[in-house]
């Protein structure tokens, strides 16, 4: 399966923040979750893909094309939802559609109005009268109405109620059923990704911590719970993050098999959730 997105050694320097040698790839027909704490660099990566920011180094290819040199060809096949949906607030949804649709040759009016009905969005309503959740739904309807081959969503579920979050995730899952469409989905609500993502890319402080298949991540990473007497120097180095308490510790490892061998019968070893990984990697950094 070819890669829909390939990022190699991507660099962006803001002075106080740097995206450093970011590399990952998303195969066609899959959903990739981009996770990381606030300020990790998720939105920066998405903006670099959309050429809203200028990269300082590295390459980004989408559908095998350079995202800057072939900007129009690339973007005409991308559907996007920004973390804050910016549209003209004084226009109705129908008028907003009229300002966007002409830019896409594959725009499907029927699909757009069907999505509005599905999302309970009245076409004649002013954009400014929508709630944040409804604005996000509208942005999603716009992103999906031109049969995009690659959908990029930046924190689309933040501010949405749990019911619509589930509906959105189901819609994204349905979207990739034809194995041609792909989704890159940034979020810090990791439970969403455990439901639908095929690949997880974890970014922290502008660096990629890992980019792997979700099942591989959930299989390899584990949380070890044991008494403090096990925390010798060697074990301390073994863990990626540790939370130490008075009577014991909880620690994250990226080698569950080795943890089972090393602590057999002496510790409780549980599969790590994405939230555990994010927590220990960002807060537990071997010193908690």
């Amino acid at each position: 399966m070819p890669n829909v997105l390939e990022i190699e050694n991507l660099n962006k320097n803001y002075g106080d923040f740097r995206l450093k040698d970011v590399s990952f790839a998303l195969p066609q027909g899959y959903i990739m979750g981009l996770i990381g704490p606030n300020g990790a660099g998720k939105t920066t990566i998405i903006k670099l893909i959309l050429n809203l920011l200028r990269r300082d180094g590295g390459n980004i290819t989408v559908f095998g094309l350079d995202n800057v040199n072939d900007e129009v060809a690339v973007k005409s096949r991308i559907g996007f939802v920004h973390d804050t949906p910016f549209f003209y607030e004084s226009l109705t949804l129908k008028s907003l559609k009229a300002t966007v649709a002409p830019f896409y040759k594959d725009w499907d009016d029927e699909l757009f109005y069907r999505l509005l009905r599905e999302f309970d969005l009245p076409a004649g309503k002013l954009f400014r009268k929508l709630s944040r959740g409804m604005k996000m739904k509208f942005a999603l309807a716009v992103a999906l109405s031109h049969h995009a081959d690659f959908v990029i969503l930046d924190e689309p579920t933040s501010g949405l109620d749990p019911v619509f979050r589930r509906e959105l995730l189901a819609k994204l899952s349905a979207l990739i059923q034809d194995e041609k469409k792909s989704v890159l989905f940034s979020t810090h609500i990791t439970s969403d990704l455990e439901r639908i993502a095929d690949y997880i890319t974890f970014i922290h402080n502008g660096r990629i911590v890992f980019s792997s298949a979700r099942d591989e991540v959930l299989e390899k990473w584990a949380v070890v719970k044991a008494g403090n007497e096990l925390l010798n120097d060697d074990n301390w180095k073994f863990f990626k993050g540790i939370r130490k308490r008075e009577f014991g510790f909880e620690a994250l490892t990226s080698d569950a098999a080795e943890a089972r061998r090393r602590f057999a019968g002496k510790a409780v070893i549980e599969k790590a959730s994405l939230e555990d990984i994010m927590y220990y990697m960002t807060r537990g950094g071997n010193r908690a």
Partner: protein, 238 residues
């Protein structure tokens, strides 16, 4: 490019309706000075462009439209061409409107003499002024955004205006020059003063050379401005 225009018209259509309504009801001030009447046409173009950019800035929609399948250079060019188009429509509307006021309504107090405007000097001055403002404003706008861009533009306009009047003063008072640029005559009717100054250049060059030189000068000025705008806008980050 046409798609961007359509977008801008949809976004600010209420403003057009307002201007059209005001003109139909003759609420647009019936200026006695003909050039002021024409300049009010340029004013409307500026208001329209400013409102469009203001709405874009207020709702931060630039990020969204920059994410669409469009080259930055197309976005820049669309703005320049739009100003040109609006200047053309505004000039045509001003003549039609003036003609209707004079020949249909026939009210003496709003009678406008359009004869000297409907001349080579009048038309040349109008389009040069519109092109000059666009060429000056857009590089600042695309580099700095609306707020700071408009501020710098205003300061530069003020500085250029001051320089012009200093030059006028020196030419008329210190050097004792008279003729088309004489200060008292100019201040009596700046519109006619400018038209006479343009007329002076036209007379010295001859009509074909004057038009040719004007077109080359305006094209050069706009070309430099557009290149500069594209260059800074392509570097702009959202």
């Amino acid at each position: 490019m046409l798609k961007l225009w359509a977008k801008d018209f949809v976004v600010s259509r209420w403003l057009w309706l307002l201007i059209l309504g005001a003109d139909i009801l003759y609420l647009r001030p019936p200026f006695s000075q003909e050039l002021a009447f024409m300049i009010s046409g340029i004013g409307l173009v500026l208001v329209w462009v400013f409102v469009t950019l203001f709405l874009e800035d207020r709702y931060k929609t630039e990020v969204f439209y920059a994410s669409l399948p469009l080259k930055r250079s197309t976005i820049v060019l669309a703005r320049y061409v739009l100003v040109g188009f609006l200047a053309l429509v505004s000039a045509a509307w001003t003549f039609v409107h003036g003609y209707l006021l004079n020949s249909v309504v026939k009210l003496r107090f709003i009678r406008i003499d359009l004869r000297s405007l409907f001349s080579v000097e009048g038309i040349a001055g109008y389009f040069f002024f519109a092109a000059f403002l666009a060429a000056l404003f857009f590089p600042f706008y695309f580099k700095l955004g609306l707020g700071l861009g408009a501020l710098i533009f205003a300061v530069v306009c003020l500085a250029l205006g001051s320089l012009f009047f200093v030059f006028q003063f020196l030419a008329t008072e210190a050097l004792h020059l008279t003729g088309p640029l004489s200060m008292p005559e100019f201040l009596k009717d700046p519109g006619l003063g400018i038209l006479r100054a343009i007329g002076g250049i036209k007379a010295s060059l001859g009509v074909p050379l004057f038009i040719g030189a004007l077109i080359v000068f305006m094209a050069g000025m706009l070309f430099i401005s557009i290149r500069l705008s594209i260059r800074v806008y392509e570097k702009r980050e959202f």
